[in-house]
């Protein structure tokens, strides 16, 4: 059974590789036909930054989906963490690390709350995380009276926009984050337990896995990842913004699902999610370079996701 699930994931990944190859071929054709150069190094660097932030948030979402859940509070955690961090860092370099730690702890707390609501009170994940996202937004607006506040310290701004050895700093952050999640899923007991719980909670319970703790863990990690992206977005835009996380909730779900994470749990992988994020970013970038209106990008993005799901669905029957 586990073998079959893994087989489906790999088959799904093959589809993803084809999609990437197809997109790159399209980019080449566009270059030859119109002279619009997707492969220009500076363009790739731009993509790398947006990609890094989307990937980190989507990896958190992937963990939750593998465990059989769904986190709709990602966007609000991002926005709240962004305002929180900017407010308390107040533009001071020396506060970057301590406040980052505090902000991540805040993300973990939201995840803990989500996880406990879902496991202890049996609230459906969809409703629980939607609820906490509404609470978060309300609390943030009450706290700030709707005013964005705070300043981004220079070192965080450098992390968001700077490069090291020609590679965006954000990309190194992404590499570290994906390595961590990858180790967690493939080399550590927690990963095995998470897949088991997502595949069948009943079987996992019978095998002696503490399913509640495992599920709560996935939400905590997703909360941390989201809060982290909130901080990184602050570095990227050099400002705090009440709505900076908007769109990340559905984008992370789309990326995770396109990457082979099945709603319902049991499958999903770092590689799949990362490749899916590449696909989404390349599509967005290519259509922007071509001067297509942004609305058309949503259509293309949506179609790619639906197509991927349709192909995956057929394969599994």
């Amino acid at each position: 059974m586990a073998g079959k699930a893994a087989g489906a994931v790999i088959a799904g990944e093959r589809g993803l590789y084809f999609a990437v190859a197809g997109l790159l071929a399209a980019a080449g054709a566009i270059y030859l036909a119109t002279g619009v150069n997707f492969f220009k190094f500076t363009n790739l660097l731009n993509i790398a930054r947006g990609f890094s932030m989307l990937s980190i948030a989507a990896l958190g979402q992937t963990l939750v989906i593998i465990g059989g859940g769904l986190d709709l509070s990602v966007a609000e955690v991002i926005s709240t963490a962004n305002v929180f961090a900017a407010t308390f860092m107040a533009g001071r370099n020396e506060l970057f690390l301590p406040i980052t730690a505090l902000t991540l702890a805040f993300g973990a707390l939201v995840g803990l709350f989500n996880g406990l609501l879902i496991t202890r009170r049996q609230v459906p994940a969809f409703v629980a995380t939607l609820g906490s996202s509404i609470v978060l937004r309300g609390a943030r607006l009450m706290w700030t009276k709707g005013l964005p506040r705070g300043y981004i310290p220079d070192n965080l701004n450098q992390l968001g926009v700077g490069t090291t050895l020609g590679i965006p700093n954000l990309f190194y952050v992404f590499l570290a984050a994906s390595l961590l999640v990858s180790l967690l899923l493939t080399r550590m007991g927690y990963g095995r337990r998470l897949y088991a719980v997502g595949t069948s909670r009943a079987v996992a319970t019978l095998s002696g896995i503490r399913t509640e703790r495992t599920i709560v863990g996935s939400y905590v990690l997703c909360g941390i990842a989201s809060a982290f992206v909130g901080i990184l977005l602050g570095g990227y835009t050099d400002m705090s913004d009440q709505r900076i996380g908007e769109g990340y909730d559905l984008d992370t779900i789309a990326v995770a699902v396109l990457g082979g994470a099945a709603i319902g749990g049991g499958s999903g992988s770092v590689r799949g999610t990362v490749i899916a994020a590449v696909i989404i970013l390349v599509i967005t970038n290519l259509s922007l370079l071509m001067g297509f209106p942004i609305q058309s990008q949503m259509v293309i993005k949506g179609l790619v996701i639906v197509l991927a799901l349709w192909l995956n669905g057929r394969r599994e029957t």
């Binding site: 150069n37 913004d241 922007l288 001067g291 209106p293």
Partner: protein
């Protein structure tokens, strides 16, 4: 049910007050004529622009000694809450009602009802589809786009390649600004529009879209953006790409003008004024006194060129401060 209780309570209270006045010797209370009471049903307080709007409302009220009291309600952007708010304000006995609509269509019946009762209704901040109101205070949004476009075209001496960044597709404010701008750019054949994108008034979106535009177009001479929320990150993107910074347009957002001043680059800030609320108060007072009020009052706006931007920008204050909209005593200014 709550409403019935509220009305009953109020009736009892009024009867008691009337009785007390009668016992105290009747006639006198009529002689001491009470001043004007203003009710302001606000749509929401979700950002610093709204804070300035309310600050300007309060400051203007303070300039009119005849206003003895005012009430402000906040609908949290919910039309159903706004309907209840308006009822509450009526119960408080306001002499004039000022409304910033949440969803214009949804509150038309309430506005018409108040107007039918003979209470002056002043609406601002939204084009409302009824003429059963006393006065609508408006800012011409086509002119917003026109003024920005005219400045940019003149700044580029009628020749250059520009990109356009709009707010939300289909949003009236964004579409009006865009239509006004396009109307002007058409008159300048030397201005070439390389691309136009909707960035949803979102800084990260505007920044990443601008990054792609920078890659797609080797030369960009100017940025038309309908808001500083987008020209500011767009300029950041140009700076990070080590491109020369170019003339841009935006609104009176301090963060945007701070960036212009700090980088010594020319720009144009056309205010989306928060002084609409002050103008609404003026019209409300006139109407409450029984003076004649125009059905539609357009508020006069002047845009800020590079020199005024330098004068008005507040380098030490919040990015979310609105320059030029702070012509009020310090105690009213929002604490950002």
């Amino acid at each position: 049910m709550r409403k019935i209780i509220r009305i009953t309570l109020l009736a009892v209270l009024m009867a008691a007050v009337g009785l007390a006045a009668f016992a105290a010797g009747g006639g006198e209370s009529q002689g001491a004529k009470k001043g004007i009471v203003i009710g302001f049903s606000n749509a929401g307080m979700g950002d610093s622009w709204r804070q300035f709007l309310v600050a300007n409302f309060k400051a203007e009220c303070a300039r009119h000694p005849e206003i003895t009291e005012y009430f402000i309600t906040n609908a949290d952007e919910k039309p159903e809450k706004q309907l209840a708010d308006i009822d509450d304000l009526l119960v408080k006995g306001v002499d004039a009602l000022i409304v910033y609509p949440t969803v214009a269509d949804a509150i038309i019946p309430a506005i018409e009802k108040v107007f039918a009762q003979g209470i002056p209704v002043i609406v601002f901040g939204g084009n409302i589809g009824t003429d059963k109101l006393t006065c609508s205070v408006q800012q011409d949004l086509l002119e917003f786009g026109r003024a920005q476009a005219k400045w940019l075209a003149e700044e580029l001496k009628g020749k250059g390649k520009i990109v356009m960044l709009s707010g939300i597709a289909g949003n009236t404010t964004a579409e009006d600004r865009l239509a006004g701008a396009r109307e002007i750019f058409k008159k300048y054949p030397g201005i070439q529009i390389l691309d136009h994108q909707y960035c949803d008034w979102s800084p990260p979106k505007a920044k990443s879209i601008m990054e792609a535009m920078i890659q797609a177009f080797p030369k960009i001479d100017g940025i038309w953006a309908d808001s500083g929320l987008m020209s500011w990150p767009a300029l950041q993107a140009m700076k990070e790409a080590k491109r020369p910074l170019v003339p841009s347009t935006g609104d009176q957002l301090n963060g945007y003008t701070k960036f212009l001043v700090a980088n010594n680059v020319r720009g144009y800030a056309y205010p989306m004024t928060t002084m609409l609320s002050g103008e609404a108060v003026k019209q409300a007072v006139k109407a409450a006194k029984g003076e004649k009020v125009e059905k539609i009052v357009y508020i006069k706006i002047t845009g800020y060129g590079p020199d005024q931007i330098k004068q008005l920008t507040k380098p030490d204050l919040s990015d979310w401060y609105w320059i030029g909209d702070d012509k009020m005593p310090a105690e009213f200014l929002p604490q950002l």
